[in-house]
């Protein structure tokens, strides 16, 4: 039979289309975990980067002297097997693990540790110019680092600084291979070498970073052959890739997309982290100079509705300035301000202010800001319901920081803000002390000042006894809760979704992504 011309062409076209679609999207191979990341990493040099997105890769390539114990923010040994702290809290002596090598084959020893900290802190170090090292101020209290012998290293601090150990567990404290830094110089960030459970294999710009299981890992070889980190900036596309089987694990699932992952094909993993989302109130001028008005704002806002409806359960209601993830320092007795609009109206009447007008800075996005526009709008509605007159001004994130960080005076009465820290010290120290006013170089943009809180924070930061520190922090939380310099809103519950082929995966309160124990079938 002879087909007419056009039909033959149509048949050809149809066949081509079929062939095009036929090899249906290949499943990811067993033993290889494909992770959907939120952005392309900056560099794989742990001392040079600042983003959680990069930390998620780095924590799998490198180890620090210490690390957070699984599921907590408590410090446990890693590359250091043990340590001693001097009586006055200024000298830390670490015994290092024996027989550990970097991925490039060079040995891990005390000299390597000295090299790492000298590179970050000493401007005269030959490899200081491989920076900049934006977070090196975490270790600004380190006066000297010395190798006492091959496996003993001693840090001397200029003053007692309690968060020091915790900072060593942070990515900025991870140990890189000096030999690799010497070999690659400023390109080290693209040729990383550490001691971690995975060795760096390949970085294809804007496509993927590939790491392979390290069979010689000192803490047990990982079961995964390889992990592929794919940057997928658009959240909807990340969801689509997860649904279509293109990735096995995605982080930061948008709240509205969570319902897509119900059922047996996927597992949703959640973990509250050291994050707090709050409103800075301007205590220098305007209605919030009156503590009654500040408390009224705390009562007026329906935080339950914010976390359940706006954020679809991806956050919990915050009670005070310290996130519950810092279990040892958290004041369990603290209750969140309940949602009580009548009480808010009473307080406003008591304060003698009628429909106080409030300028409210809202950001469009930004690190840890969750869903700031929707949250801002809901907050505005709640405040207006009890008699505030709220005008929202919305800014792009960096512009927003440029307006908020120098202080709210002359700018606004209230601003959104969120913080994620690795210890309970940093946030209150930088944002609640009198000496942390913006003109003094801190982030106390609302000018909260309470001598009692100042004294508590100063002591808590330098005390070496953890129980004493906890006591001081609990007291601080209660005072700040009552003074209400902020409206305490939410603690973010980080989420991730895995396909049903992934086992043994859990999220950490530190928000790091640790894949050493993960199994992929």
């Amino acid at each position: 039979m002879r087909l007419p011309n056009w039909t033959r062409r149509a048949v050809l076209a149809g066949a081509a289309a079929l062939a095009f679609a036929a090899p249906a999207v290949a499943q990811t191979p067993p033993g290889v975990l494909v992770v959907g990341q939120v952005a392309e990493p900056q560099a794989l040099d742990p001392h040079a980067v600042t983003a959680v997105n990069d930390f998620r890769i780095l924590m799998n390539i490198y180890d620090g002297l210490v690390r957070y114990a699984p599921g907590t923010l408590d410090v446990e040994p890693a590359l250091a097997e043990s340590w001693d702290i001097s009586e006055d809290g200024t000298v830390y002596t670490f015994q290092l693990r024996e027989g550990v090598s970097f991925h490039d084959g060079s040995p891990f020893n005390a000299e390597a540790v000295v090299f790492n900290f000298e590179r970050m802190l000493n401007e005269d170090h030959p490899y200081y110019d491989t920076g900049p090292f934006p977070l090196s101020f975490f270790f600004s209290s380190v006066a000297s680092v010395e190798a006492l012998d091959d496996l003993t290293v001693q840090f001397t601090l200029s003053e007692p600084y309690a968060p020091f150990l915790s900072n060593l567990a942070y990515p900025t404290g991870l140990i890189v291979s000096p030999a690799a830094v010497e070999q690659h110089g400023s390109e080290f960030g693209r040729n990383p070498s550490g001691t971690g459970p995975f060795t760096f294999a390949e970085w294809r710009s804007n496509e993927a970073v590939v790491v392979e299981g390290n069979p010689d890992y000192w803490d047990g070889a990982p079961s995964l052959q390889a992990v592929v980190f794919r940057p997928i900036t658009d959240a909807n596309t990340r969801v689509a890739e997860m649904l279509s089987g293109g990735i096995d694990l995605m982080v930061e699932v948008p709240p509205v997309a969570l319902s897509e992952f119900q059922g047996d094909d996927f597992t949703i993993v959640e973990q509250a982290g050291p994050h707090v989302w709050f409103l800075i109130l301007n205590l220098r001028e305007g209605p919030f100079t009156n503590p009654l008005v500040r408390q009224a704002a705390n009562y007026a806002i329906n935080k339950e509705a914010l976390v359940n409806d706006v954020l679809e359960g991806t956050a919990e209601v915050a009670a005070g300035p310290t996130p519950p993830a810092f279990a040892w320092a958290y004041n369990e007795a603290l209750e969140p301000y309940p949602y009580d609009p009548d009480r808010a109206r009473e307080l406003l009447a008591e304060a003698g202010v009628e429909s106080p007008s409030v300028t409210f800075y809202v950001t469009e996005g930004g690190s840890g800001m969750l869903d700031p526009v929707a949250m801002g709008t809901a907050i505005q509605a709640d405040l207006e319901a009890v008699g505030f007159d709220v005008a929202i001004e919305t800014y792009e994130w960096n512009t927003f920081l440029g307006r908020v960080n120098p202080g709210l005076e002359g700018e606004a009465d209230m601003a959104e803000m969120a913080w994620m820290t690795n210890d309970p010290d940093t946030l209150p120290y930088l944002a609640l002390r009198t000496e942390a006013f913006p003109d003094a170089g801190g982030f106390n943009s609302g000018y909260y000042s309470n001598p009692e809180v100042d004294a508590l924070l100063e002591e808590a930061r330098t005390a070496t006894d953890q129980d004493r520190r906890a006591e001081l922090y609990r007291e601080m939380q209660q005072i700040v809760h009552d003074d209400a310099p902020w409206v305490f809103v939410a603690n973010w519950v980080q989420n991730a979704v895995t396909s049903n082929r992934v086992e043994n995966f859990q999220l950490e309160p530190s928000f790091f992504l640790l894949l050493g124990d993960v199994v992929k079938n």
Partner: protein, 315 residues
Amino acid sequence: MAGYILKRLITAIPVLFGISVIVFLIMALIPGDPATAILGSYATPENVARLNADLGLDKPEWQQFFIWLGNMLQGDFGRSFQLNRPVLDEVLERFNATLVLAGTSFVLCSVLGIVAGVISAANQYGWADKGITFVVLLGISIPSFFLGMMMILVFAVNLRWLPASGMWPIYGDRDLWALLRHLAMPAFALSVVATGVIARLSRSAMLEVLRQDFIRTARAKGVHERGVIWRHALRAAMVSIIPVLGIQAGFVLSGAVYIEVVFQWPGIGRMLVDAILRRDILLVQGGVVIVAACYVLFNIVVDVAQSLLDPRIKT
């Protein structure tokens, strides 16, 4: 002709200089600086000042401009703060990916648009014309990013025929076949609007030509209809279609930004969006200057092509 091309190239110099000044000023004037963006929560004035010094941003702005310009003239576009690699490497790699996407879209929309326009014109007010007009208007009206998202939903998530995003498979061969499978959805989504515009304008250009005397002459001397339309009329109509193609090429290149974000295409549009949000000054500046240079070059090529086709345009 060579003189004309040379003249056009020389006039491009002040244009590019102007662009350098403007993009530098914009990046200097927008609020927020790279150090604050990098430090995020930890951007205390002290830390910002220290990092700015490390990044070389503590010099006066006019000095920064001339250093940048001078380096650029020697082919050194500096290093990206955020990606920690030379701007030129990143831009060229990204631009390459954009050209693959935009180039495919451009071919797609040119061919489809012209064919649709010619068929419309040849069957003016007939069913083919009405059908094509309807589809074309629909295409022009759908935002490309929305179309892209819907295509991902249907072809990647539900049918699982095509990969949802990216340019290359994560594992497996990086051959032409793999590229085409990744290219299909973004290239189509990107070409839809331009196809519509080209189809509409080709149609009117063709209608105008079809009314002219030489078409009647061609028909009178017995050229069959297909020859009249595709050989005589289309050739004359191309003179007015080519400038439209030039404009649409620019449109496709700039429209690639949305498509690149939706499909995670590693192109220059997405790079610029990310770079602006992170205040990666040198990457934004270098990227814009290089893209602008390409635009200027493209316009020159279009003008030259037009003067070759139509001797009435003075060179």
